[in-house]
């Protein structure tokens, strides 16, 4: 099913006109309203009037995640606060969060994109959407919520946690669409099986995202829960979940190109790569009001296919994200940068720490262990002092990232040193 055929199946020639108009408006908007962009465009010798075709996009400078951090909290906003109706934030690379704002129109756009996603999964006003994405500063929960309301479905805003209760509610309320991270869906399936309630569930589809997963995991979920499982992609810097979503053909995620222009670049040179080739995803928003971004480098690796899809949509499809160009980890749906762990250790111990992050998947849950080398500054002959140190590191990391972590002290020089960039992560997950 298609929510908005006029837009999702628009002839590509027409789409290009929509994109050019949106691009020109956006460049004008940021030039006039966002000092950082005015400066960058002036430096590059580009005036808003000189944007005549979509090819001119290539001449524009990139926007990085650090730009959002450097302009913390509201420096990239293109509207006054009185027009902002919502704020979301994700944890930043070194402790400071990345803040994004939405105008009423932005929220409406986001709801539209999520309505497209839900409809693509088969949701109608007759459905009961079980929304186990986290509600709060994270965009997952409220994103699905508004989309489900737009479709007219009944939303259960259950958020994460308390898994047995989730299963009971799914059974009692007759949930038909499940929205959560794929690893949590696996866990729900497991618990439902243990409770002997799996056959009582009415689920028909699941919308799973916010962390990497594989086709074999999809097949497993589809079989165990008897559902259609589709992938969803998004990032708060662009709008949140719903930037791209799968159709039941499962041959890539349709990008909402009437709101975002996609490019794939070589992460080293910054040059575009030919369609179908792998590279870094770059998005330019063309309808966003509160915080438009020009050529935002996502660090996500994918490839884009511009051929029309057999589902009828003409929107380009991106491959499932296969990796990152930076060292960001996604653990239980939470973005984790090694530099965040490092900043916590620096703060506690005062010097550059030697540490290693070990990620594994036990059952269906991601677990993270941080190994810290003991040094003479905090080593003590008393066990309780070392245990207090461990607890403090654990507490600080958990309060920063909101996921549980196991901290382990190790002997000096046990963590591998390297000449260039230190290896900080061992990811043993098989996804």
């Amino acid at each position: 099913m298609i929510w908005n055929r006029e837009r999702e199946a628009m002839p590509r020639e027409q789409l290009k006109k929509v994109q050019l108009e949106g691009l020109r408006n956006t460049i004008k908007r940021v030039y006039e309203r966002v000092p950082m962009y005015k400066k960058r465009l002036d430096e590059a010798g580009i005036s808003p009037d000189s944007i005549k075709s979509l090819d001119d996009l290539e001449r524009l400078p990139f926007t990085l995640k650090t730009d959002l951090r450097d302009n913390y909290p509201f420096g990239m906003f293109a509207v006054p606060m009185k027009e902002i109706v919502r704020l979301h934030a994700s944890s930043g690379t070194t402790g400071k969060s990345t803040v994004v704002g939405y105008t009423a129109n932005d929220i409406a756009t986001w709801a539209e994109l999520m309505a497209r996603t839900l409809t693509s999964a088969g949701a109608t006003s007759d459905d009961v959407v079980h929304n186990a994405y986290g509600y709060g500063l994270f965009t997952g929960g409220l994103g699905i919520h508004y989309g489900a309301e737009r479709v007219g479905a009944s939303v259960i805003p259950i958020s994460g946690g308390n898994t047995k209760r989730q299963i009971t509610i799914m059974e009692d309320f007759g949930s038909t669409i499940l929205a959560c991270t794929p690893s949590y869906a696996m866990f729900l399936a497991e618990v439902a099986e243990e409770m002997g309630l799996k056959d009582k569930l009415m689920l028909k589809a699941g919308i799973f995202g916010a962390e990497p997963w594989s086709n074999s995991m999809r097949e497993d979920l589809e079989k165990r829960l008897g559902i259609l499982a589709i992938d969803i992609y998004g990032l708060s810097e662009i709008i949140g979940p719903g930037v791209a979503y799968e159709c039941p053909e499962k041959h890539g995620l349709h990008i909402a190109e009437d709101h975002f222009i996609v490019e794939i670049i070589d992460p080293d040179t910054g040059e575009r790569v030919p369609p179908g080739e792998k590279g870094e995803l770059v998005f330019t928003t063309i309808t966003k009001e509160a915080i438009p971004v020009i050529r935002y480098r996502t660090r996500d690796i994918s490839a884009v296919n511009f051929e029309p899809c057999s589902c009828g949509r003409t929107l380009a499809r991106m491959d499932r994200v296969t990796g990152r160009t930076d060292d960001m980890l996604i653990i239980r749906g939470v973005n984790v940068f090694p530099s965040q762990i490092e900043s916590v250790l620096m703060e506690i111990d005062g010097v550059e720490p030697h540490y290693m992050i070990i990620v594994d998947r036990v059952g269906q849950l991601d677990i993270m262990q941080v190994q810290v080398e003991v040094n003479e500054r905090f080593f003590s002959d008393e066990v309780r002092h070392l245990e207090e140190f461990e607890k403090k590191v654990k507490r600080e990391i958990e309060s920063l990232l909101n996921i549980s972590v196991d901290v382990m002290l190790v002997e000096p020089k046990t963590i591998q040193r390297s000449e260039g960039k230190a290896k900080r992560v061992i990811d043993n997950r098989k996804i």
């Binding site: 080593f379 003590s380 002959d381 008393e382 066990v383 190790v410 002997e411």
Partner: protein, 143 residues
């Protein structure tokens, strides 16, 4: 009248204690006594050796995390009630012991109790006033 204890951080994995003792042995350092405090992840080896400075240097150069601490070494008769008497003195003066370990000097029929206390200055005063014999670093290395 203070004694010096050397503490070494050890991960809970096979062969670590053997490694420490081998290094000390190869460098002619004699361990008078030792005690390991352990958790599920790690252990702290605490020991009295005959040459503290040399032991510290050698362990550091072998990438161990080490630390020196002042402790009290008390010599008592190696017979029932020897330790109880000491603990009673400390207790009646409200002095807390963090940890304690002992060894016997069988030739002289003495027992030596090594203790880490919260307030080492006062503990030394109190014990000396009670005519308890304390051993310092030199006395320990000459045992």
């Amino acid at each position: 009248m203070r004694a010096i204890q050397v503490s070494v951080f050890l991960e809970n994995k096979r062969g670590r204690l053997a490694e420490v003792t081998k290094i000390l042995g190869e460098n002619s350092i004699n361990i008078r006594t030792f005690f390991i405090a352990d958790t599920s992840d790690f252990g702290i080896l605490r020991m009295i050796v005959n040459d503290t400075k040399k032991a510290m240097d050698i362990l550091k150069s072998n990438d161990f995390t080490v630390r020196e601490n002042e402790v009290i070494a008390v010599e008592v008769s190696d017979k029932p009630g020897g330790l109880a008497n000491i603990l009673n003195i400390l207790n009646s003066n409200d002095l807390n012991i963090e940890y304690l370990y002992c060894f016997a000097d069988t030739n002289r029929h003495k027992a030596i109790d090594v203790m880490r206390v919260e307030d080492i200055e006062r503990a030394i005063d109190v014990l000396q006033n009670a005519q308890v014999k304390l051993l310092d670093e030199i006395a320990l290395s000459n045992l």
